[in-house]
Symmetry: none
Subunit: 208 residues, 4 copies
């Protein structure tokens, strides 16, 4: 059935809301919250400045909404659903590649720049924790516990290990960004990088 006028209108409205949100993400990421202007967001979204306020109460509200949409992609969490079927190194390789693709695709420092706003604000922190951190950590902890129980891993403090490993990915990214062009990692092929990390996590640094 063809959409009614009512429906078409609603879908237009939804679209406009999304446009604004996308624009806000882009601008906040590039400049940070304080240095972003509503003027620029409006331009980026292709709407008038006033229109933003028909959808969002304030610039701050827009930021909160942006963070709220930062849900972990289903595809990522899905990896863990079928995790039992894969060997750990294979899984880890998949996860690391997935994360690096994610960072790559959505703009190198988008995530990290938003992070600074999040760290500064208790409300945002809570939202982000609930929507991103907790789901991932829970999934990972469960995975490690199972593996540990089966004897495929040595006994682990899963709380610590998950955060250490999650942190490793995040921190590696940060350091790379800080080093910029001069980072020696720039010349390491992705495959080689991932392989080394997998080995580090699996075996540590000690000799066989």
């Amino acid at each position: 059935m063809a959409p009614t006028r009512q429906e078409r209108k609603e879908s237009l409205t939804k679209m406009r809301e999304q446009q604004i949100l996308d624009a806000a993400l882009k601008v906040f990421s590039a400049k940070g919250f304080a240095e972003a202007t509503t003027t620029e967001i409006a331009q980026e979204a292709g709407v008038a400045e006033g229109t933003i306020y028909n959808y969002y109460q304030s610039k701050r509200d827009l930021l909160v909404s942006v963070v709220k949409t930062f849900v972990i992609t289903e595809s990522f969490l899905g990896i863990f659903e079928n995790a039992g079927e894969l060997e750990f190194p294979a899984l880890l390789t998949t996860v690391l590649n997935n994360r690096m693709d994610f960072i790559g695709e959505s703009g190198k420092n988008r995530l990290l720049l938003l992070m600074s706003e999040i760290l500064r604000d208790p409300e945002l922190k809570m939202i982000y924790d609930r929507q991103v951190i907790k789901p991932i950590m829970t999934r990972m902890e469960k995975y490690f516990e199972t593996k540990s129980a089966k004897g495929e891993f040595r006994p682990l403090q899963t709380g610590v290990v998950t955060r250490a490993l999650g942190g490793m990915v995040l921190g590696l990214l940060l350091i790379t960004l800080l080093e910029g062009e001069s980072s020696p990692l720039q010349s390491v092929p992705r495959q080689s990088l991932v392989a080394e990390m997998v080995q580090l996590i699996t075996e540590g640094v000690q000799p066989h």
Copy 2:
């Protein structure tokens, strides 16, 4: 000998400069660069707003100066100088404790909040890279190469491993901050946390 009038004056001047720098660090950390106001920095420093401009050219210059003083503490780099005498686990334990003390003592998220400004600004990035990241990474890489060569470590891509390990510490901190009160790490004693990380880095997750 008693300080001359000249000397006393100079020391007063130095003190005032330091006061302003300290105040700036505090306020920038709490609010971020853009949302920090010179009024607040002046109040925090206990001087008039105009006085700031007798010492620093601009608010931006103040930020640069703050970042410049973020040199890695000598004590930290010193650890690596005498590194040969310690077993790796003992060294690692020392390093981790040192880092956590550092974070603890200098204000929980001070470092991380400044980092967001640093990431956004090429000039600051360069300064921070040169003064903090590079020295640490160089020291660590040399250490790992030596160990590897002696056969105490398996063959490593030291560039990757150092950044992964450095990143782990940084990222762990980030995640903890994001989780806040609700983090399970809150209830893990420092000693236990460090021990687990040491083991993870040494042996990885695989069973013996």
Copy 3:
């Protein structure tokens, strides 16, 4: 036909722009550029301070715009178009009266006060030269050349004479302003003043 909504809006906008320009002229004239404040200009224009910046990029831009609108009135240049038909003394009388009316009507010292800003600033100087000085001088020179060629004037260095005569009007005004109330010219009727100047320019000071 009645003006469309669009047109009405545009005319309102034009009006506001003009209001601001008028206010700026007034305030700049009274206080000079540096001592004029945007606050005062806004008040004078009856708009908010921010509104100024919807129309002009900066206070400086406002000054430039003010100077740009100082085009010589058409009526003045028109005098020279039909100059051939008048005897020189009659023409001169017309010109002098026109200039004195102009000064009188547009605020006594407006022109002169702006001139100080103009003299100080190369860009403004160029604008004013191109829009006011050059057109007048060109017209006058052409006029004198023609008259000279016809033998109605003695042979003249027209470049010098035009500027000397233009300068006479300007300088007379300046001196009068400096002398203020105490000037003996205050008690000379306009007609008499103009007549004397005409005779001076025509015959000089020598006896017949």
Copy 4:
């Protein structure tokens, strides 16, 4: 007799006062009153900023003092003392040359830039009128009256003529400054310029 300590001190003091005044004239001329800073004046004078306030009550007071020193040079007024002995054209030539030297030597626009400050301020206007304008005008009027009475000039409204001629010199200068490099007067030799003006004033523009 050698100067006493007392005297030497006083002369030093006088010198310093003069230094400050000279510096102020220079800076005010170059930038205008409002845009000149006490810092710059102090630097120019080679004293500390605070020292200025030991000699002058305020920046404004400094401006007043600067204007007060703008007395007409004796040499100029002296010209008129012995005026009787010279033919008018010779005298006029002397005066014009003197004025143009004066302008040339003391910096092209020094006088004119100060004039804008003077025009804006009643107190300064009065001072300048009394010290510069009035003496010149009085002298000139007396001269013209005498000449007129003797029949060497036609009957003149001396008040008007003196101001018209004084204004001519001033205005010519102004126009030249406004035209800058592009002025045709740039290529007219001084002698020729003066000669033309003398003839204009003496005979006017009419043919013999």
